[in-house]
Assembly symmetry: C2
Homo-oligomer: 244 residues x 2
């Protein structure tokens, strides 16, 4: 369909974590819009489609361009890493659509997020109720993040931390850990996955007491267990009441 | 690779929500194990593979059979709907592996869950921190579920409810709603998606005050916004601090 913008989650892992639908949209669109690095991940799927890519922090420019081109009659694919609907580009695009482009048809194609790829690499840590929290305070006040960490830990949720550490805010993960440790046992399992689902994937299994935040970078996902989680044979498992 | 069990998430939507990796494993294994209805979803991908399927509530029997056959030398694919690692079969299989089958190699292949497909259909409700809670009290005491609902609502999380309603426990969704409404405004958006990602998908957009729990069944996912979420032009959006 022409005159349409697809927001395509390309997954956080390698090529094989893409869905059939994502590949179909990329291969049949007229134009691909995205952050440079994400376009590189799918370069071999692109034939003669027009490409519009920009660097980091140009999100709104990219979103506006994608909507303008769809309005002009193109079938546009906006590429988002992971799932476009989880801390991705679906939000700003749909906000822009609501305010300035109500006539443009938009469809979100979900992808596999870092949390799900990371969990699969660690074992089965997400088998019970889970709170997903981003530690990035670029777009969210730290007080809000702290409040959510408190409640997630007090509610005995498994906790998945996105954007757990960057050069600009290396100390936030330690602060998050201290808040969580007020409510969870110090021997609670912690799993860290760098580059989940990619060839250079790296795993670390530890506990709230012992994990080293130097193992963590921007490309990591951190998963902290609930009160029933355990590590056995290098597998991080959160049980769910089955009698084994 | 022989002597290996793959736990394959086939996504919660239609064929196009499968990943390339899931399809590759299904097509190259010797044996497929799963709940009858899930096997039907992928029937056309199966050639001459052996099939072992059973009905509901036979989970542990299926898991044990899958591990036994992998131990005997087969390449086995255990099919799980959605993502095997989210309230799926990855947990019990890895628990069994840890206790009785430490020699069997197991790999989890993640899939797209109902939450992500449902969110994509509704707009962009999961753009900020989200708590995932199952309302099924078959394997979890209701007091634990209530405690998590309290904390998720008090922490201003977006809340995604799995297993929101069944014939055996039709009243739990109302009780969950009442707990959440103690902490969230009554005009907070609520989105309900039945059969997310499938042809018969149905959407309902409403609010905590007005949503009707009769719209919800076992095959639904319910998403409740945070204090910034809004509905505009039939899109459920949770903003994330971008200046639009």
């Amino acid at each position: 369909m022409k005159n349409k913008l697809y927001i395509v989650g390309i997954g956080s892992g390698d090529r094989k974590s893409l869905t059939l639908k994502a590949i179909e949209v990329i291969q049949t669109c007229d134009m691909i819009v995205g952050y440079k690095r994400y376009i590189q991940y799918i370069e071999d799927l692109i034939e003669d489609q027009e490409i519009f890519s920009t660097g980091m922090k140009k999100e709104i420019e990219r979103c506006t361009k994608a909507l303008e081109c769809a309005r002009e009659g193109k079938k546009v694919a906006m590429i988002s890493s992971g799932d476009a609907g989880v801390y991705g580009m679906a939000g700003p695009i749909l906000q822009l659509k609501a305010e300035k482009f109500p006539d443009v048809d938009v469809e979100v194609i979900p992808g596999i997020t870092a949390m799900n790829l990371g969990a699969a690499a660690l074992g089965a840590p997400l088998m019970h109720d889970t709170a997903i929290i981003s530690l990035s305070n670029l777009l969210t006040p730290w007080e809000t993040i702290e409040k959510r960490l408190e409640h997630a830990a007090a509610g005995d949720f498994v906790i998945a931390l996105y954007n757990p550490r960057s050069n600009g805010r290396p100390h936030l993960l330690k602060r998050a850990r201290d808040i969580i440790a007020k409510h969870k046992q110090l021997n609670t399992p912690v799993g860290i996955v760098k580059h989940a689902g990619r060839e250079k994937e790296e795993l670390f299994l530890s506990t709230l007491k012992d994990f080293n935040d130097e193992w963590v970078d921007m490309n990591s996902i951190v998963i902290i267990g609930n009160s029933c989680s355990f590590i056995s044979n290098n597998l991080f498992i959160t049980p769910r009441g089955y009698h084994i």
